[in-house]
Structures are given as C-alpha cells and as structure tokens.
C-alpha cells in the first residue's frame, strides 16, 4: 500500500517534451537579465537587493525541485544544505580564506558528503517516513550549528568581509553581485535541465511513477535517487554561499525546519517538476513576504491561510495557471 501512495505522491505539471517549455524559461531569464535596468529608471535600490535574495532562494528551490518534483521525494530538510553552504562560507571567511574558488569546492564537498550519508539512510524509507527523517536530519544540523560556540552558536556569526573571486570583489557591488547570482542560477538551471533530460533523469522520473517496475527493468532505483539527492544538496549549498555573502551574517535560523517548509512552498507555488516554476515560485514568495511584512508584523497570520487556500484550490502552481492562460499546444 505504501509504495502505491508514494508513486502518485507528486505529479509533475507537464510532460517533459514540449516546445512551450523553452519559451517561458527564455522570457524569464531575459526579464531577470534586464531587471537591474529598472533601478536606473527609478525603482528603489532596495528592490535589487530583494531580487538578489529571491534569486539566491531560487537556486535552492530549483535544487529541491530536482528531488521533489522530478524525483517525487518530499524532502523536509533541504534547508540543512543551504545552512551548511552558508556556514562553510562564514567560517572560512572568518578564518581568513575568503577566495570563492577555495570556499566553493569545500561547500560542494561537504554537502556531497552530508547528502551521501543522510541520503543513504533516508532513502531506505518511503513516503511519510522519508518526510519525517529528512526533517530530523535537518534538525540535527540545526542543533549542531547552535552548538558551534566558537562561531557564534545560537546568536549567529557576522561576516566582516565578503568573498573574493580571483582577487576581485564582484560581490561587493550590488549590480555585479546580482549578475553573479543570476549566472549561477542560469548555470544551475541548465545543469538540472540537462540532468533531467538525460537517460539518468528519465530513470529518476520513471521511478517516481513506478519504482517497482523500474527496478524490475534492471535499474538501481535507490542509487539513482541517491545521486539526485546529492546533486540537489550540492546546489542548495551553492545558494548558501550566496546567501551568506548577501546577508553578511549566518545563523542557525538559516536551516530551521520552517525554512525547509518555505522552500517546499516555493517549489509548489511555482509548479512542481517544471524547474523554471521553482524559480518563479521563489521570486513570487519573497516579493509576497516582503510586501506583507511591510504591511503588518503579524504577516504570517495572512500568509498561513494563503498557503492553505493555495493548496486547497489550485493545482499546478503559477506555471500551471500560465499554461491555462496561454494558447493551447498540440
């Protein structure tokens, strides 16, 4: 019974091969590339910082969509990877190693190791147990960060400088930081998209629909899922690197379980399994959060019911709605 429920757990928005799938991402990235122009023609400068933050979370939401939407695995501990990326950045900068080309390999390595170990345990379970276990591992890292008294412990760690890249400071300037994040996001998007389109990605998708049939066909479902889990974790670590450089502060709250829940909501808000949906979802989420929190300090009282209503009454997220609005394809 439980394997049958898992397979239908997450249904993707669209069949993978569709010409329209190219149009929306292309428009999206074009708009994002032009966004800094809006500041020059009069948008407030804080707006670009908000958008940068949105793109950083878009990397994390995109990485989550790989296992959540494409793989059908509901991970409730994804913020742990984001937090690991941020903490590695914070600790290395504090220790005087601020070169991005030194920090990034360490982040990717640590996230891959953490993903491989926890993934090997988590993937022994399915369905609800998987949700709970990823949540528990997320909490484990959260408490570990709280206990890091040498690096701020519960209070967090303030960074007094940003990372450098080959000796330059692209992250110090607001606009060049924005473009750095955008390039990373585009790279991550192309990577994940290529991964999903590959033979490996097809096996991952097939395992979402029917893991028993896929394993009988001769594929090692757990191994495929584990590789996806590790890659997804590494990408989330990358977003943690940018987040630490953006806020110039890291704290255990970066990997609280609420943050994992928010990442899931971003992916679902955009439309699970479509990849660019996760990017749209993250941007929409952060803009909504920003607008509501300016409205009242109790913005969660409005936001909570919005999530509930969204889940109860919409299907397919923003990308699904856009598709309904647009012309019908084939």
């Amino acid at each position: 019974m439980s394997s049958a429920t898992t397979t239908s757990e997450v249904s993707s928005v669209a069949p993978p091969r569709e010409r329209a799938k190219l149009l929306l991402p292309a428009i999206l990235f074009l708009l994002l590339a032009l966004a800094p122009l809006a500041v020059t023609i009069g948008m407030p400068a804080g707006w670009l910082a908000l958008l940068t933050r949105a793109l950083i979370f878009a990397i994390a939401a995109l990485s989550l969509d790989l296992i959540l939407g494409v793989g059908g695995l509901v991970s409730f501990g994804h913020a742990a990877f984001l937090g690991i990326g941020a903490y590695v950045t914070g600790i290395m900068i504090t220790e005087g190693r601020s070169e991005a080309l030194v920090i990034l390999p360490v982040i990717l390595g640590v996230c891959a190791l953490f993903g491989a170990i926890t993934g090997a345990v988590c993937l022994r379970t399915r369905g609800v147990a998987f949700i709970m276990i990823t949540l528990a591992f997320g909490q484990m890292v959260y408490f570990l960060a709280q206990a890091l008294s040498a690096y701020g412990g519960d209070d967090g760690l303030t960074l007094y400088e940003k990372s450098t890249l080959l000796g330059f400071n692209p992250f110090a300037n607001r606009t060049s930081f924005y473009y750095s994040v955008l390039i990373a996001l585009a790279g991550a998007y192309l990577l994940v998209r290529g991964f999903v389109a590959s033979r490996f990605g097809r096996v991952l998708r097939a395992a979402r629909e029917n893991p028993v049939r896929v394993s009988v066909t001769g594929f090692d479902v757990t191994k495929v899922r584990l590789v996806a889990y590790v890659i997804s974790g590494m990408l989330a670590g990358l977003s943690g690197f940018f987040l630490a450089n953006h806020t110039e502060f890291v704290s255990p709250a970066f990997m609280s379980w609420q943050r994992s829940g928010e990442l899931i909501f971003m992916a679902v808000l955009g439309g699970v399994g479509s990849l660019h949906g996760a990017i749209i979802g993250a941007i929409a989420y952060l803009i909504a959060e920003d607008a509501l929190s300016h409205l009242t300090e109790h913005w969660r009282v409005i936001f909570g019911p919005m999530i509930i209503l969204f889940v109860l009454f919409t299907r397919g997220g923003i990308v699904g709605m856009l598709r309904k609005l647009g012309p019908r394809h084939g």
Binding site: V74, I131, I133, F265
Partner: protein
C-alpha cells in the same frame, strides 16, 4: 555523578518520554488510520497549554481549568478538521504537509497576537505542590510524579480502547486496510473524526499537563512535533505500542545525554572541548539514534501489524 542524581534524571527522562508519548500517540493514530501527515499536531499541543493558562486563570482551579481547556481544544480541533483537514485526506502527502505548514504559521502567530510573545506559566495545583522524598536528601516534585502517573493511565486507557473495544478493532482494521473497512460498511468518515478528535485531545492534554512545568510560549509545539516524529519513526509508523516504547527511549536518551554527556566525555578529553562536544552531541543524540534504528530496521522497532 551520584546515584541520587541518576535516579532524578531517569525520572525526568520518563516524564519527558510520557509527554512525548501523549503527542506521538495522536500523531501515529492519525497517520496510521488516515494516511494523513498532520504537521499542525504540535500546534494543538501548544494550544492545550495556552488554553490551560487561560482557563486555570479564569476558574482558579487547576482541575476545572484542565477540563475546560481539553473541551476547548477538542472543539477547536474538530473545527479545523471540518474546515481544513477533511479536504486533504484524499490529497497527496505534499499537499498535506504544505496546508498543515500554513496552519502552523497562522496559529503560532495567532497565539502571539492573542496571548503575547512573552512566556506564560500556570501555577502548580495546590494539592500537588511539594516534594516526595525518594531517599534521604533526594526530593522529587509531586507534580512530576502526577504527570508520569496520569500519562501512564492515559496510555493504559488507550491500550484498552485499541485492543479491547469494537472501535479499537475498527481502528486497527482501518490502519491496515482502510478501503476494505469502508467496503465492509463502516462509516470511515465517522471513524476518521473519532480518531482525529482523540488525537487532538491527547495532544491538548499533554500541552495542558506540561504547562505548569514548562514555559508556555509560541513555537513550543514545533520542537515537540519534531521529537514526536522521531518517536513515531523509531517506534514504527501507526504503532501505538511502538510509540510508547520509542517515546520512553527518546525521553531517557535525550535527558540522560544532556545531563551526563559532558562528564562522560571528560574521561577522555579536556574540559572545554568536552563541554563543546557534549553540547553538540547531546542535542544530536536522538537523531543519531533514529538514524541507527532506521539503518538496521527501516520499518521501526515495533511496526504495526498488517502494514508493509
């Protein structure tokens, strides 16, 4: 480390485990019978505590306040079932996780708006203040004994209902095959309502009982919820017996780990590094325990019969 301290900490661990069991029992029942993952269960624990604060304050009597708080928690739980949960039973787990996550955001903030962000407390009932002398010089609060006792009593009641009554039989049948139970003419919706109401009551009871000894604050349910998840996963999803055993294990391991990890590490490392490692290790201990249990037995220690 003295024997007295050890006994006190074991009792503390038992008491913590009993609280966890009360929360986890409702969660595992709701999950086992309805295949429904309810993240808002921890919020119901928190509400139980807040309602106890209000009603004990209003009536001036702990017992009366407790009864009123339980009734109010039940009404609130049923309202939530009617408004939100009912529409989610047929949905996939992802939708359930998200909608109940939205509820947590709403209720945590709502509680902050109504009762304020500052921690509140409930005075100990007069007839349960004071201490019990365990051995010469070692005292243990009477209220904590009462908590352990009432938790065990609720556990026994739960065992009786699940194992010996007709409702319990339907419940167990529902946990192993809900569509079949429905096909045999049982009103599965009504059964779901009963299970849900019962789970809500248990969580509210745990919250209300914990109110005099813990600080009542927004977000207090979140920590308990995650620990209850750990309990359920270790015990085996849907299994009440498993939840009981796992809750006691988690309560004891966590409490003893926090008290004695430092001393244990001091045996083979320097004091400052023992303190740092001890703090990290003791808060991670139960998650490590869970990982080990899962690695050895993915289905949990005492899985419910009939589930695969």
């Amino acid at each position: 480390m003295t024997t007295g301290l050890l006994i006190v900490q074991i009792l503390n661990g038992l008491q913590f485990g009993i609280l966890l069991f009360l929360v986890a029992a409702g969660l595992t029942l709701v999950f086992g019978v309805m295949d429904f993952i309810n993240l808002a269960h921890g919020v119901q624990y928190m509400l139980g505590a807040y309602l106890a604060v209000t009603f004990v304050g209003l009536t001036g009597s702990f017992v009366l306040g407790l009864v009123l708080a339980l009734a109010a928690a039940l009404v609130f739980g049923l309202a939530l079932e009617f408004l939100v949960f009912r529409h989610l039973y047929e949905r996939d787990h992802l939708d359930q996780v998200l909608a109940t996550f939205g509820l947590i955001l709403l209720l945590n903030q709502g509680v902050k708006m109504i009762w304020g962000a500052a921690p509140l407390s409930v005075p100990l009932p007069a007839f349960l203040t004071g201490n019990v002398a365990l051995m010469d010089g070692i005292l243990y609060p009477t209220y904590r004994f009462a908590l352990i006792g009432s938790g065990l009593a609720v556990g026994a009641l739960l065992w009786f209902i699940v194992e010996k009554t007709r409702t319990g039989m339907l419940l167990r049948a529902g946990a192993s095959n809900a569509p079949m139970v429905s096909a045999l003419g049982v009103d599965i919706r009504k059964l779901f309502m009963i299970v849900f109401a019962f789970g809500t009551m248990l969580a509210g009871f745990a919250g209300a009982m914990a109110a005099p000894i813990l600080s009542v604050e927004p977000g207090m349910g979140d920590t308990v919820l995650i620990l209850a998840f750990v309990v359920i996963v270790i015990g085996g999803i849907g299994s009440i017996r498993g939840a009981f055993v796992a809750a006691l294990i988690v309560g004891l391991v966590d409490t003893l780990g926090r008290s004695f990890m430092n001393d244990l590490l001091r045996l083979f490392m320097s004091a400052p590094s023992a303190r740092a490692t001890g703090a990290a290790l003791s808060s991670m201990l139960i998650y490590l325990l869970m990982a080990v249990v899962l690695f050895v037995r993915p289905e949990g220690l005492l899985p419910a019969r009939g589930r695969t």
